[in-house]
């Protein structure tokens, strides 16, 4: 079916706008007033209007209506969306709450663990270990925030306001993902680094195993990355399910089931292999591997890679659904 605005694309109307306004395709004129298009350099504006300066970007849009805003029009880009999402994420309490609870859990539990152990406990385990227990619990806070960042917009109806202000839906999701991921990564990594610092300071005898660079990076950046990726996966799931409670429950399943199910799977010989694999990539095991609690676990980067793959897949699905579905 040929719609009027498609037909106009073929109309040979030369662009009358100066090159300062390249974003505006010439078709807008053609549809509105084809016969007047050539004289359009002088749009008729009702008297009393602030007419835009010649060549200002406002001019090309005169075809939409007879009103022209005196506020200069800026072409928006991802940077605008990121600034907007940063304002959004810092102006709601759920962000403050989830992230401060996460930091309190990681640092608090890390400190308590560190304080209740003595130097002899760290002969075979690295001094980064106290961060592990806090990270296990803290990841759930990041999951919650990841879901809420997008599902709260659906829950409140804010999403319609957002998409009216920016019809580029994917840009909004990209901005959300970037802002959330950066924030989650920075707070988690800093909390873990603080725990590592405290723990190393409290336990430093001759017998204590000093953490290697690999172990330090794994326990801070690695775990930070893992937890924030989990949060990003939650954001993608939240975007697809559009429902806070539903998405949080789903993510709890994603985090907890792989560590519970293997116990049942291993009872059956045919499913034992699946159980072992599942356990290897379960969140507690992956975190333990990143902390390098035991040499047999590996360095944890393979688990990180798998989580990254799953998150990327979920994000792609979220983008496709976002563009396709009604809001």
């Amino acid at each position: 079916m040929t719609t009027p605005y498609q037909q106009q694309g073929q109309a040979p109307v030369p662009p009358q706008t100066p090159p300062q306004a390249p974003p505006q395709p010439p078709q807008a004129y053609a549809h509105q007033q084809p016969q007047q298009a050539p004289q359009h350099q002088a749009p008729h504006v009702p008297p009393g209007y602030v007419s835009p300066p010649p060549g200002a970007p406002a001019q090309p849009y005169a075809a939409v209506g007879t009103y022209t805003s005196p506020i200069p029009i800026q072409r928006t880009h991802l940077g605008n969306a990121i600034a907007s999402e940063w304002t959004k994420i810092k102006s709601v309490r759920s962000t403050i709450w989830t992230l401060s609870v996460m930091a309190a859990l990681v640092v608090g539990i890390g400190f308590l663990t560190s304080a209740s152990t003595n130097d002899s406990d760290y002969t075979s385990a690295p001094t980064t270990l106290p961060g592990f227990f806090g990270a296990l619990l803290g990841q759930l806070c990041v999951v919650t925030l990841g879901v809420l960042v997008i599902s709260s917009e659906y829950g409140t109806g804010m999403i319609r306001t957002t998409f009216t202000a920016s019809p580029a839906r994917s840009r909004v999701l990209t901005a959300k993902a970037l802002v959330f991921f950066t924030l989650a990564f920075v707070t988690t990594t800093l909390s873990l680094a603080l725990v590592t610092f405290i723990s190393s300071g409290m336990h430093s005898g001759p017998k204590v195993m000093d953490p290697s660079n690999d172990q330090l990076i794994g326990a801070t950046l690695g775990v930070g990355l893992y937890v924030s990726l989990l949060g990003l996966l939650s954001l993608a799931v939240g975007s697809m399910l559009r429902h806070s409670a539903g998405a949080i429950t789903t993510m709890l399943g994603v985090v907890l089931l792989p560590s519970i199910l293997p116990a049942f799977l291993m009872m059956s010989p045919s499913l034992a292999d699946l159980g072992v694999t599942m356990q290897k990539y379960s969140s507690p095991f992956a975190l333990a591997a990143l902390f390098q609690i035991d040499d047999s676990m590996g360095s944890g980067w393979s688990q990180l890679g798998v989580l990254g793959g799953i998150t990327a897949g979920a994000l792609v699905a979220a983008y496709v659904l976002l563009e396709k579905r009604d809001v």
């Binding site: 007879t66 009103y67 928006t76």
Partner: protein, 410 residues
């Protein structure tokens, strides 16, 4: 300029909007009227690209909204006063929208001043009343100083001062050459605000004309006649005599008769000839509100009915349950067919000329059959005529413009 062509939206079985075509022009306030659930909000969402039409298309300034360059600077919308994250302050809410649209932050304080929310700008919007929420929504719509403005039920929850303010704001925005599209279910409000009216019922176009034309077409004058109470035979006698003389007689709730098509003196003479005493004979002019209700009568999805006390007593007649909501309801759906010329030809969809009442006489109050029948009905009946219908009202409009005039006309 908003242009819809053959706009259709189905949600599963339910057809929310069917073959809707209209234009909203700049420089005027266009009212968008229809009963609850008639598809106003769905249409608004389709204009804003939030919902994808099942068929047809709608453009703003020649572009589908999602392809519009710098959309937030072209179109501003208030869809739902509560479409706000309650945990965010009014200022932060507007600031994030301004940043998203590339609008300078000082514009936020400007619009907060315009809607009068400066003093609560830093309060979380969760605590806002409905009226304050509407003001915040209007602020968001004005943020981009756009050429096209959409407001979905903007006066809901506003105090009288706020209603007056919105009314003047709409007119002022339109006088600046902008396109202003305002939905409402309150005809009385629209009569004061709008220049142009688009009326829909069950997702289909019922009328697209200026308010002035709407008033002159739809305000049918009538005479109210009451015969002595407790003497039904007198009433029947008069009804027969008047019908014979060519008048239309509709019974009213309180036992009076509503007569159209006969001048008052003639009614008096006929009554005298028939030897019927009259307790009342008074001229009436249907208000615009009534005209609107009459027009949308057949298109009401959610109808209130008189409380039948759990079905312990049978409704007196087939038309009675339907009449619960409005005094003039019985027979009203049939009015377009009976009364010569209250509507210009083509204004009313043929599907709505038939009274939907008789089969539903004993139906449950909610009108489940009407709803169940809706998806089947619009696709079945309208394809015969609707494509032509939207084009007709403007052409037919001047024809009998002077036929009836009404004091309601401003």
């Amino acid at each position: 300029m908003i242009e819809a062509v053959g706009l259709t939206k189905r949600y599963g079985d339910k057809t929310a909007v069917y073959n809707l075509s209209f234009q909203v022009r700049p420089g005027a306030v266009t009212g968008f009227l229809g009963p609850n659930g008639s598809g106003k909000s769905t249409t608004m969402r389709m204009i804003l690209g939030l919902d994808e039409p099942t068929a047809g298309h709608v453009t703003v300034g020649g572009y589908p909204f999602r392809k519009l360059p710098n959309a937030p600077r072209q179109v501003g919308a208030l869809l739902d006063a509560k479409a706000v994250h309650g945990g965010r302050s009014a200022r932060q809410h507007l600031l994030c929208l301004a940043q998203l649209s590339g609008i300078p932050a000082r514009r936020v304080d400007e619009v907060l001043g315009v809607v009068g929310l400066q003093n609560v700008a830093r309060k979380r919007s969760k605590g806002f009343s409905l009226g304050m929420g509407q003001r915040l929504g209007i602020a968001a719509a004005l943020l981009g100083d756009p050429q096209v403005l959409l407001f979905d039920e903007p006066v809901n929850g506003l105090d009288p001062e706020g209603i007056l303010w919105v009314r003047n704001l709409m007119k002022q925005l339109a006088s600046e050459g902008r396109t202003v599209f305002v939905s409402s279910h309150l005809m009385s409000e629209m009569a004061l605000t709008a220049d142009q009216l688009i009326v829909i019922g069950r997702g289909q176009l019922l009328a697209d004309m200026s308010v002035k034309d709407f008033i002159s077409y739809n305000s049918a004058d009538f005479a109210r006649v009451r015969t002595p109470d407790g003497e039904p035979q007198q009433r029947e006698k008069l009804t027969a005599a008047l019908s014979e003389a060519g008048g239309q007689v509709l019974p009213e709730q309180d036992g009076a008769l509503r007569i159209t098509g006969l001048p008052l003196p003639r009614i008096s003479e006929l009554a005298h000839t028939a030897d019927v005493r009259l307790w009342e004979l008074s001229p009436h002019q249907a208000s615009l509100e009534e005209a609107y209700m009459r027009m949308t009568q057949g298109a009401v999805d959610y109808r209130s009915t008189a409380d039948q006390r759990a079905g312990l007593q049978q409704p007196p007649g087939a038309g009675a349950p339907q009449g619960g909501a409005y005094g003039y309801a019985p027979g009203a759906p049939g009015v377009p067919g009976q009364q010569p010329g209250p509507y210009p030809p083509g204004t009313v969809m043929p599907g709505y000329a038939e009274p939907p009442a008789p089969p539903q006489g004993a139906a449950p109050p909610h009108g489940a059959p009407a709803q169940g029948g809706a998806p089947a009905q619009p696709p079945a009946a309208p394809p015969v005529q609707p494509p032509a219908a939207p084009a007709q009202p403007p052409a037919a409009a001047p024809a009998d413009l002077s036929k009836r005039d009404n004091e309601d006309a401003r």
